[in-house]
Structures are given as structure tokens and as C-alpha cells.
């Protein structure tokens, strides 16, 4: 696995991940958001795989398989089933309209590139140069959660955040010790499950999963 092939493949995977983040920010149909999350999960798995093969160690490869199973298959299926149950297909009117949120996403990415330079130039190889992109995905995830009204979109934003952090983990350290990776993945799965159960209760209590209704508990 030559260096140039590695950096091209990494660039491609990181590029797709970043594009998926923008798709989530852009689309208002929930189904396409879920599909974008699935694609991004796959991209993270590809990054893990390439790094594993490049460093000839088994751990990242195993992690890649786990990530693919969890973030490209299981969780998107869960989200799709969730959307079908709640029959809410479209994100109605988010807090900030679509063009403005895309603009904000762009500015955010520039900002992250400007400030997160020092992480990039610590590691010399091509992987760590892509870290600012991963941090950008984290920030975009947080932006989606802050703007969108629907419960599903907020969970999608959370998943963007998690994928971003996973990317940072793989790019900087080609995978944390397996025990931590496993713990993290299990926690992520449980969080999504919990949110799914809570969304079910929210539908029964509030009739819809519009987060703006959640303003009764205030000071």
C-alpha cells in the first residue's frame, strides 16, 4: 500500500464524509438524511480499513468491520424504522432556512481549518493533515442539532458528531485500543436506542416529535 495510494484513498473517503455532512444539512426529507448518514458510516469504515492495511495491524481492520456494521447498517435501519413509525416525512420549517444554514456550515468549516492547524502539523503523515476536516464534521453535527426541529434530525446530527470524532480517532491514532472502541460503539448504540424509546414516549405524550414543543420545563 504505497503512500500516494493511501493519501488518495483517504482524501476520497474524507471528502465523501464531508459531503454527506453537507447533505444532512441541506436535505429536509428525513429518508435522504438517513441515507447520507449510512454513506458517511461507510466512509469512516473505509478510512479505518485503509489505515489498518497501511500499518499492517489487525486492530483497525476489526474496528473498521465493527464501524461498518454499526454505523452503515444497524443504526440507519433503526432510523428508517423510526421514520416509518412516526409518519413524519419532512423536516417542516427549521429554525434557520436552508441556504443560511448551508452558508453557516461553509463558514464553520473555514473557521475550523483556520483554528485547528496545530493538530494537523503535529503529525507529519497525510492522515493527520485531514484531521481539521474531521473536526469540521464534528462542528457541522453540532450545528445540525442546534438548528433542526425534528427528533430524528437531531439524532442524525448527533450521529454526524460521533462519526466526526471517530474519524479524528482513526486519523490521528489509527484506532484507539479495542476495549475503548468497543465501549464507545456500545454507548453510541445504547444512546440511539434510548433516544428511540424516548421519541416513542414523546409521540404518545406530545403527539409529535417537534422539539419546539419541549418548552414546558422552564424557569
Amino acid at each position: 500500500m504505497t503512500d500516494s495510494a493511501l493519501s488518495q484513498l483517504l482524501g476520497l473517503a474524507i471528502g465523501t464524509a464531508l459531503v454527506c455532512a453537507y447533505v444532512v444539512l441541506w436535505r429536509s426529507r428525513l429518508i435522504s438524511i438517513v441515507r447520507a448518514i449510512a454513506v458517511q458510516g461507510a466512509a469512516v469504515a473505509v478510512v479505518a480499513l485503509t489505515l489498518g492495511l497501511h500499518e499492517h495491524s489487525v486492530e483497525p481492520v476489526a474496528a473498521a468491520v465493527g464501524v461498518f456494521a454499526l454505523k452503515a447498517v444497524i443504526i440507519p435501519m433503526l432510523l428508517a424504522r423510526w421514520i416509518r413509525q412516526s409518519e413524519e416525512l419532512r423536516e417542516v420549517d427549521p429554525l434557520i432556512n436552508i441556504p443560511a444554514s448551508l452558508l453557516a456550515g461553509g463558514l464553520l468549516t473555514l473557521f475550523v481549518y483556520a483554528t485547528a492547524r496545530q493538530v494537523a502539523n503535529l503529525g507529519s503523515d497525510s492522515a493527520s493533515r485531514a484531521v481539521p476536516a474531521a473536526i469540521a464534521i464534528v462542528m457541522l453535527g453540532l450545528l445540525v442539532m442546534t438548528i433542526r426541529r425534528k427528533a430524528v434530525t437531531q439524532v442524525a446530527g448527533f450521529l454526524l458528531l460521533e462519526n466526526g470524532i471517530a474519524l479524528v480517532a482513526f486519523l490521528t491514532t489509527s484506532g484507539l485500543p479495542l476495549l475503548i472502541e468497543l465501549g464507545g460503539a456500545l454507548d453510541l448504540l445504547l444512546v440511539v436506542l434510548v433516544l428511540h424509546v424516548l421519541a416513542g414516549r414523546m409521540v404518545s405524550a406530545f403527539g409529535a416529535t417537534d422539539l419546539n414543543q419541549l418548552q414546558e420545563l422552564r424557569d
Binding site: 429554525l95 473557521f111 475550523v112 483554528t115 485547528a116 496545530q118 462542528m139 453540532l142 450545528l143 442539532m145 442546534t146 438548528i147 437531531q154 422539539l211 419546539n212 419541549l214 418548552q215 414546558e216 420545563l217 422552564r218 424557569d219
Partner: protein, 672 residues
Amino acid sequence: MSAGTWGLAFAAAAGGIGTIAALVTVGPTRRWLVGILSGLSAAAGGATAILVLVGHGPVTVHLPQILPLAGVELNLDALGAVFVLAVAIVALPASIYGIGYTAHGLNRRSVQAMYPLFIVSLLLVPAAASVSTLLLLWEAMALTSLVLVAAEHRDRSEVREAAWWYGSMSHLSMIAILMALVVFAGHAPGETFEALRMSGRHLSSSTRSFVFVLSLVGFGTKAGVVPLHVWLPRAHPEAPSHVSALMSGAMVNLGIYGVLRVTWDLLGGGPIWWGITVLFVGVTSALFGILHALVARDLKRLLAYSTSENMGLILVAVGAAGIYSSSGNPMLAGVAITAALLHIVNHAAFKGLLFLGAGSVVAATGTRDLDRMGGLLARMPVTGAAFAVGSLAIMALPPFNGFVSEWLLLKSLVQGLPASSVAISVTMPIAVGAVALTGGLAAAAFAKAFGTGFLARPRSPQVEAAAEVGGTMQTGMVSLAVACLGLGLAPFALLDVLRRAGAALPSLWGGEPVRSVGVTLHTGGLTGSLSPLFIGGGLILLVVLIPVVLRLLGVAGRRRVAENWGSGRSLQTARMEYTATSFAEPLQRVFDDVLRPEFDLAVTHTAESRYYVEAVRYRVGIVDGFETHVYRPLIRVAKRWGEMSRWVQNGSIHRYLAYLFVALLIVLLVSQ
């Protein structure tokens, strides 16, 4: 363990056992046990104080394992001993008085358990010798007195309001003292007063002024000086009377103790503007306090405002001492400090007596409103006589003790200084004028309190049915009355002791300020002498002699009871008497623009014609100026701040996530 340490230990132990007894026993045994044990604790504290004052040397106790991360340091020196003596003078009679007084529905476990602890904390605060110990005992005193103030919270809503005001202002006092002493300790090798004393003079002048101002605010709040006095006329009247006697007679002194200890002992004195500030605060407190006492209709509220006034007078003496010491006359400062310390002990005696008297009146009649009292001297002879002695003492009239300390206070202000600084030659006359006016108005206020309260005829049925109070309450009052007369006739015994207390403040003492030759007191500086024994004795002798001379001149002994002169009208009713409001009305009109009373006059005319009046309703309310113009707006601003800050937690999850988002951006920016 020296005798002094045994004394303090016994005082604390007696208080502790008293609390346990209060929790365990029930009914009369509880009242008696708490009363006796608290009295014992006070007596032990007083004995220790006297031991230290007669030259036994300071009592030091060092308990490192108590109070984690700090340890307890106690060191009772001569200065602290004077204040402990003042506490003991009030606490012993008040405890005996409490035995009878708490029989009227106050015999609850929480109230009786806190009373001994309150006395122990009062006794120990002057002995504190490190920052943490002082704060611990200060808060313990505040907590125990808060529970006692809120004792009757079920019966009256004002008590709940008073409890909140008192709790908040005591904590303001504690926080201000904490800020001052913590900053001071920051610049000193340790937190004990010894360490502070060593580094006191080497601090930068800005730090010294910071510590001075904040400790003045902190201790001034507890002493009830004017801008910070608002809690005093609310909390003292609502507390049970034997507790308000303790609070007014003993607790407020500790505010003065704090100012003396921090400013002129630990900081070792300071520039002249310190003395002038303290003097100015004293003058305003004295005048403001006595004016509101003059127009108060509620007896205990009148006494509370007069406490503010007396603390003002003491601060005038302390301020004068500060001015003299910073302008290089330590001997004159000595005279002023002796006056302040003597007035503290005297004030403890007569203010305690007055509050106990008021307590008996409230217990017997159930009302505190002077306008509804009257004729109590006939119905409650012992309480009446005791209250008369207290009133004459607080009016600074011979032969009682107020006269001696007021004389010494005036002598300390009247100094023929060559005009070393314009400040002195202007402030001193103003101070004398203010003290004199306060003295005059005090005479008016307490003539009103005793005159309209106890003389003439009862103006309401419940006062008509009043009967004398029980034995223990009478002993409490009579013992304090005897103390007032004793201190009045023979203060020289106390003055020798006060010399050692004054010497404990080197920055405020020099030479031989007050000598007592035989029974006559001679003051340094502008010489003048007074022998209270001769004047008092002479008065009493003459008062006894005059009827004898009349008898010799053939005057008949028996008296015929005759009707008062009603300019021809025969029917004289109690409604024609002068009440407290009417008695003080001329003076209230003279000081109208200071008091700014609220009038409202409602005249209802008869239906037929406008020229005939059916009923006239006249209501005059005196509201505390500072409360309406300083504290109410502050509370409104705080409430608005509270309302506006609810925007932070408005329930929208998007806003909450936005906080995280912004925080992350800031972190990215900051970590360049």
C-alpha cells in the same frame, strides 16, 4: 489549664448542658434548667473576664483538631474581656428573667435549646483569635439568634419578615468580614490574629483601606449603624424580650469590638480619614436612631432604635479616638476609648433592663403600643420602678450610670486642641453638637416611653387588667436596676479595669488619660473632674431631707385625694390624656423634613350637609427613610435581575445546544 481556661470551658459546658436539658426535659423543669444553666454559663464567662481584667493575663486556648482545615484559636485579652463582661452583665439577669418569661407559650424545644448556645457564642466571640474561629463563632451567633428571632413565627407575619431581614443582613455582615479578613490574611504569614498583627503595618495603604472599609461595613451591620441598621428595628422587637435584651445589650457591642479589634489592633491604626469616617457614621447613626426612637409608637421598636443611637454614640467616641491617635495625641485618644468602653458596659446594663421591662409589659398586657398603655406604674410597681431606673439611666441623668459615660464622652470630644488641622477643629464641635442634641432627644424619647407608658391612666381594657409579673422576672429586672445605680455611683472600680483594656490597643493609648483619685474621676487633656458618688449621694440625701424639713415646718403628712383641674368640666376620661404620638408631635413637627412622616386625613361629612363632620380619621406613619429609598429599590432591582435572568433557562433545547456550540468555538479560538 489556667483558671481562665477553666472559666471559659465551664461557660461552654454549662451552655451545652443547658441545650441538652432543653431537648430532654419538658415543662417547668425545662424553663428552670435552661435559665439556671444559662445564668451559670454567663456567670462563668463574667468571672473569667474579671480575672483577665484584674491582670491575670490573657487566656489562650488552642484546639487544632476542631474546625477542619483551620483549627480553633481562642485568646481572651483585656479588650475582649470588657465585652465579655458586658455580655455577662446582661445575660445573667436575662436568663433568670427568661425562666418566668418563657412560660407564656415560648417554652418550645427549639427556642429553649438555642438560648444557651446563643449566650455561649456571645461569650466566645470576643475570645476568637483567628480568622476562621471568628467567622465560625460569628455565624453560630447569627444562626442561634435567627432561630430565637423566629420563635413566634406562627403568631405574627412580621416575625417571618423580620427573620428574613435579620438572616440576610447577618450574612451580609459575615461576608463583608470574611472578605476583609481573608484579604488581610492573604498578605500575612498565617491566619491567626498574632500573624495578622505582625504584618498589619506593612500592608499597602490601598489594602489597609480595603480591609478597614469592609470590616467597618461588616461589623457596622451587626452594630446597627445607620445605613446598615434596617434589620435592627425589625428583628429586636419581634424576638422574645429576654433575647432582645441580649441582642441589644450584648450582641450589638460585638460589632464595636470588631471595629476596634481589626482597625486599631490588627491594622494598628491608620490615616485620619478613618477616624473621621467612623465619627461621621457614629453621628448619623446617633441622630437618625434617636429621631426614629422619638416618634416610635411601638415600645420595643423605640428601644431598638435607641440601641442604634447608643451604638452611634460609642462609634463617635471610637472615631474621636482614631482622630486623636492619628494626629499624635495618644493621651486624648485614651480618654475617648475609656469613654467608649465605659458606655458599652453601661449601655449593656440599662438597655438590658429596659428590654426586660418592656418584656414584662408585653407579657402582662399583650400589647407593645404605647398609645394603648398607661397607668402601669400603679398596676406593676416593680416593673414600673425598674423601667423608671432604666429610663433615667439612658437619659444620662445622675445618680445613674448613663450620666458618667455621657460626661466622659463629652469630655473626650471637648479638647482645647490648638488648630493642628482644620478637620479636627470643625468635626469636634459638630460632634459635640450632635451628641448634645442626641442627649436632649433621648431625654424626650424616654420621658415619652416612661411617661405615656407607665403614668396616668390605662388607655385600653387589656392594660387596665394588667398584673405584676412573676418573681424570677422581677429579680432579673431589679438586679439590673441595682447594677445601673451601682455603676452610676461607683464607676471608679470599673475605670481601673478599663485602663488595662485600653492599654490592649497601643495605637489608641498613652499616658494616664483617666485617673480616679478616691471617688473623683480626673481626665487628662482638657482637665475636668467629676465625683458621681458625691453628686448622686448628695441628691439622694437632699431628696430625703426636704420632706423632713417640711415636717419640721409643721406641714401635715396626710394627703387628700382630689379631682384633677379640668377647667370647670367635671368628667375626666382616659381619652383626654396625652398619648405617645401627641407627646412627640411637637418634636416630630420640628424634624419634619428628616422624618418625612406620611399623613392621611379622612374626613367623612354627614349625608345632609357638607358643613357637619361625621367622623375624622387621622393616620400618621413614620417609615424608615433608608428602607424606602435604599433597600426597597435594591430589592426591586434584584427581583428584576432574577426575572430577566430566567431568559437563560427558557426551556428550548436549541438554545441549550447553542451554548455548547459557542463554548466549543471559544475553545477552538482560545487554544491557538
